[in-house]
């Protein structure tokens, strides 16, 4: 038995889907079907046999969107191949993911043609205004010649885009109207409309002036904007003239001697406010770290704070914000300090190194520990802060801070919880850095240790205040 479904010009996909469901769910082989569009030569098979009643059938979701596109293709055999792949992908969801399969590859290639045709229509439709005098919505019309039967696929795009105006797009076979937000299609033969609009003069002005004659790349233009579209583009007839004049325009720019500045230039430049100096810290080039960072991050807190807390170096957040202890480790520190009853506002917080050291990895920056020499180079800034703030004691968080404050680089965990005598003669309470908790597998234990040390700092602070 031969089946010969006839697909209408409008609603072709839905008609194909209904027919294909009826046939495939009854296991009708592809060779028994002769697909054609209505109005095609009926050929040998006439109307064919009536379709069987459809039964339940499952297909991969990806097939439906593929089929919707391929149905719009004008290639002979598109509907037939679609049906063959439909039969094969029942119970084989993986098939459509296999681009090495020749049939899948052919369908994907056709779908790609449709996507491109739609994309070019989105790009190259040009509306001309035809608003009658007492209309309350503005009205526009366009003529376009797509390669495939994409009018129904593309209409929702224009409806989403031009919500507050009415429009008509006329193609050789279909006229699409959108009035008051309602889209309708009509299958009607039309001849090319010759339209114009006075805004086109401004558009052509823009097109001619945005072109850079020093970078002629004609092939690149034509591959994206093939000549077949030119006849409906108001700007396209400028192209030959722009190309012809480019060489001369470029030569003129090169031949013209550099001009003298107008008189006002000097006056304006003289009046520009002097950019404030960024201060010594930001300009520091004692080590190479700063060259990659956004900014130097100094300490923050009250002058005369009895406690100075010293961490390692600013991290990603601190580097962007220009403030110390605002990243994940800083936030954890705030939580633990509150838990330990340490008055963080009474402390001056800063870092041993003032710039963020990192290696870039794609869209992320990976923290790098500073070298000994870099910590050493940065010590002058820390010493200056100590002189200015005049703390009574210091809290060194992590090995870098302990090293720079005491001059002793030996193992940190053996020393934590103890008070050592610092280089400045001040007592230095040693503890671990909160980021160690974020990175460690035994974070609970480390967390408890840090809280314990922060309690000790809080006690020391109270003792000082009691004096």
């Amino acid at each position: 038995m031969i089946y010969a479904p006839r697909l209408p010009r409008l609603g072709a996909f839905e008609a194909w889907r209904d027919a294909a469901r009826a046939l495939a769910s009854n296991d009708v082989p592809a060779d028994d079907i002769h697909w054609a569009m209505q109005g095609d030569d009926a050929g040998l098979f006439g109307d064919g046999a009536p379709l069987p009643a459809p039964r339940e059938m499952m297909v991969p979701a990806a097939f439906v969107s593929l089929a919707r596109r391929v149905c719009a293709h004008r290639a002979p055999g598109a509907h037939d191949l679609l049906y063959r792949v439909l039969l094969r992908c029942r119970g084989n969801a993986r098939l459509l993911g296999n681009r090495a399969d020749p049939q899948v590859q052919q369908l994907e290639a056709w779908a790609k043609n449709i996507r491109r045709d739609m994309h070019k229509m989105k790009a190259f439709v040009r509306f001309r205004e035809v608003t009658p005098q007492e209309a309350n919505r503005r009205q526009f019309i366009s003529w376009f010649e797509p390669d495939h039967r994409i009018e129904e696929l593309i209409a929702p795009f224009f409806a989403r885009r031009f919500g507050d105006m009415d429009w008509v797009i006329v193609t050789p076979q279909i006229t699409t109207r959108c009035a008051g937000g309602d889209v309708s299609h009509e299958a009607v033969q039309s001849a090319r409309l010759d339209l114009s609009d006075e805004t086109e003069e401004l558009w052509r002005t823009y097109y001619a002036n945005i072109f850079n004659p020093a970078r002629l790349k004609i092939k690149a233009m034509q591959s994206e904007m093939p000549k077949k579209y030119w006849k409906n583009l108001p700007e396209a007839d400028l192209i030959p003239g722009l190309i012809a004049g480019a060489e001369a325009q470029m030569r003129k720019m090169q031949d013209d001697a550099p001009s003298l500045p107008p008189l006002r230039a000097e006056r304006i430049l003289d009046r520009l406010p002097i950019r404030e100096g960024l201060g010594d810290l930001n300009a520091c080039a004692r080590c190479p770290i700063g060259a990659m960072a956004t900014q130097a991050v100094g300490g923050a807190g009250p002058m005369g704070a009895p406690l100075m807390i010293v961490g390692e170096q600013p991290g990603d957040r601190e580097d962007l914000a220009g403030m110390p202890f605002v990243g994940p480790a800083g936030q954890l520190f705030d939580t633990l300090a509150a838990e330990a009853g340490l008055d963080r506002d009474a402390a001056y917080v800063t870092n041993a190194v003032k710039h963020f050291k990192f290696t870039p990895r794609g869209k992320r920056r990976i923290h790098q520990s500073p070298h000994k020499s870099e910590v050493e180079a940065c010590r002058v800034w820390l010493e200056r802060e100590i002189t200015q703030v005049q703390p009574v004691f210091l809290l060194a968080m992590g090995a870098t801070a302990a090293q720079t404050l005491t001059g002793d680089g030996s193992a940190l965990m053996a020393r934590r919880g103890t008070v050592e005598r610092g280089r400045e003669g001040l007592p230095v309470l040693i503890t671990l850095h909160p980021s160690a908790i974020l990175r460690s597998e035994e974070s609970d234990r480390l967390r408890a240790l840090l809280v314990q040390d922060l309690r000790q700092a809080a006690r020391m602070l109270e003792e000082i205040r009691a004096l």
């Binding site: 993911g97 296999n98 681009r99 090495a100 399969d101 020749p102 790009a123 190259f124 439709v125 205004e129 366009s142 795009f157 885009r161 031009f162 919500g163 507050d164 008051g180 609009d197 805004t199 086109e200 003069e201 401004l202 558009w203 823009y206 002036n209 945005i210 072109f211 850079n212 004659p213 020093a214 970078r215 002629l216 790349k217 004609i218 092939k219 690149a220 233009m221 994206e224 722009l242 480019a246 013209d256 550099p258 001009s259 500045p261 304006i268 950019r275 930001n282 990659m292 956004t294 900014q295 957040r317 580097d319 962007l320 220009g322 990192f358 870039p360 990895r361 794609g362 869209k363 920056r365």
Partner: protein
């Protein structure tokens, strides 16, 4: 002076804007005017509505608000010391051009830049006024890209980010020394700090408020910048290093490379050259390798000569030729990372290979169907039915790809 007509202004202020390479209109939030109350839509991918004979796409109305400028950047047509005629759009004129062009489907939206007039704050405030009028008075839902003035106040940048899809600040010169020499009123640190602030603000917009409501989107299509190629002495390795720093630190969506191109009314400080278009192209390819193929800047630089990319072959092929010990790659076994390093395999081909592998082992013909450039890949891969043998290590492998040396012609 007689009052200039909008057409004359448009000619001047688009001519002055053409040196900005960016024209992207993609990657912002999805918006529509299907409810009938506004104009415009954005849906993921951008649309190029025309192409100029310079091969560049025209997606946005790219104009300056004004080409008056108080800065004196040597590479720029609008610098204070240039003799070009000056013009300035009113807010209404920019809004008119944008919406009327949009209605006729010429553009995806507006890319508004400007010379600095009076002060950075005055300039930024005027640009924000235009964006505000488009969004609030005209319910414009198309794409807006605002060039941000780095020194403008945080309040203005805040409003700009809420109105616009993309914010950008052009660094223009790849090194701070270059900025100092050729754009003395600009400051690299200042620009990077401003980028950092925008990035922090963007991230804050991603967090939910304490009531669980989503914060308003801030510059949803991200930040971008532009580097001029061939004006100062920076080599490709330096430029790529600079890009890596910008991508990793400020999560820029794009770094654009713009071959230094002759400008009318040039300055003696920067002699005009023919724009190094081939070099610009190689830099874009290298940039893609950084962003989508997992290469590090120093890896790409290691295959370059004196810090300059090979102009005859692309940087991915150059890396493969310099690292032949890593090849051939077995297409049926290798992981994504290594497949991405095969010359002739793009990100799409690699995704298709990984997906197709689940249906069985792949042969040479399968790769062809998948869309890989098999002739290029040949020396670097093993498939079910192909092995390159000695080809991978052949001494003349580079010559297979490089264009033949041009014969000197007799004059």
């Amino acid at each position: 002076m007689a009052k200039m007509q909008i057409k004359e202004k448009l000619a001047l202020l688009s001519d002055a804007a053409k040196y900005d390479a960016s024209c992207a209109s993609s990657g912002t939030t999805k918006r529509s005017s299907a409810d009938g109350t506004g104009l415009g839509s954005t849906e993921g991918s951008g649309i190029c509505h025309a192409y100029a004979p310079d091969g560049r796409c025209i997606s946005l109305l790219k104009i300056l608000m004004t080409n008056f400028c108080i800065y004196d950047c040597a590479y720029c047509i609008n610098r204070v010391s240039s003799q070009v005629p000056r013009a300035r759009f009113t807010v209404e004129e920019v809004v008119h051009l944008t919406t009327e062009f949009y209605r006729r489907n010429y553009i995806e939206g507006l890319f508004l830049s400007s010379g600095i007039i009076k002060s950075p704050d005055d300039t930024m405030a005027d640009m924000v006024r235009i964006a505000r009028s488009l969004r609030h008075d005209h319910h414009f839902r198309g794409y807006i890209h605002l060039k941000t003035i780095p020194d403008a106040s945080p309040e203005l940048i805040e409003e700009a980010g809420l109105l616009a899809d993309r914010l950008s600040m052009n660094i223009e010169l790849p090194t701070d020394a270059g900025i100092k020499a050729y754009a003395p009123e600009k400051n690299g640190d200042e620009i990077r700090r401003a980028m950092g602030r925008v990035q922090l603000r963007k991230e804050a917009a991603k967090e939910r408020t304490h009531t669980g409501r989503r914060a308003e989107k801030f510059a949803p299509a991200g930040q971008s910048t532009q580097l001029i190629v061939g004006a100062d002495g920076a080599n490709d390795a330096t430029i790529l290093q600079s890009s890596t720093r910008l991508y990793s630190s400020y999560k820029l969506k794009r770094v654009y490379y713009s071959a230094f191109s002759p400008i009318p009314d040039s300055t003696a400080a920067l002699p005009l050259i023919k724009p190094p278009l081939a070099r610009e192209h190689r830099l874009y390819q290298a940039d893609w390798l950084l962003r989508f193929y997992g290469y590090q800047a120093d890896e790409i630089a290691s295959a370059a000569t004196d810090g300059m990319l090979d102009l005859e072959i692309d940087p991915k092929l150059a890396w493969a030729l310099a690292n032949r010990a890593s090849f051939p790659v077995d297409v049926n076994r290798a992981g994504r990372d290594m497949l991405l390093r095969v010359p002739g395999f793009g990100t799409k081909s690699v995704a298709r290979i990984l997906s197709a592998r689940r249906n069985g082992t792949l042969g040479f013909g399968d790769l062809k169907r998948i869309g890989a450039l098999v002739n290029k890949a040949k020396p670097f891969i093993i498939t079910r039915d192909w092995s390159p043998g000695g080809l991978t290590d052949a001494a003349n492998l580079r010559a297979r790809f490089a264009p033949p040396p041009e014969q000197l012609s007799l004059l």
